[in-house]
Symmetry: C2
Subunit: 105 residues, 2 copies
């Protein structure tokens, strides 16, 4: 309890697949760290989630696509994705790791 | 829905009191941005909360005091505070704004 950890460290040097790490998981909320580096969703893949998702870019750069728009995100940007609001990761920068914080609730 | 905002901007130039801004608030979860600049809890004040709190330092530097230890936090550091785990802010750097992200759940 109350041990500190750091979101910016323990990043593998090679990231063949996007990394999803659960930080907190309870019945009502899940907090996840996601690490991307040039990864994007398959071209015909859409996330369709039953929970709300609050997503924050801690570091890096990405583009999230929705059915009606595409939103560019850089360090510090956040947005809320409503339940069943379809979305996909259109692009993440290949230049550096993009570290996301996702809160599902 | 899905409008983006940024955690690192809209910081007032003068911060006489700590700033608490609610980003998300539902029955089960609250996400808050807190901005400190040299602020600390009153010397005899302890937070004693019924919810769990996950706290992340987005930027800056701080010290959180618990009954049995004091933990120094800098950019990227996070920890979980259990319900009713008494704590206080022992110190935040006066040199720059400390931006916290707090998730109560």
């Amino acid at each position: 309890m109350s041990a500190k950890h750091n979101l910016l460290i323990d990043i593998p040097t090679a990231i063949p697949d996007e990394i999803f790490e659960t930080i907190i998981s309870t019945q009502n909320v899940k907090i996840e760290r996601i690490i991307s580096k040039g990864h994007k969703s398959e071209s015909d893949f859409w996330y369709d989630q039953h929970q709300s998702e609050w997503i924050l870019v801690i570091k890096g750069e990405a583009r999230l696509q929705f059915e009606d728009k595409t939103i560019h995100l850089s360090t510090g940007d956040y947005l809320t994705i409503a339940p069943h609001q379809k979305h996909r990761v259109d692009w993440t920068t290949p230049e550096e790791e993009t570290i996301w914080l996702a809160v599902f609730y």
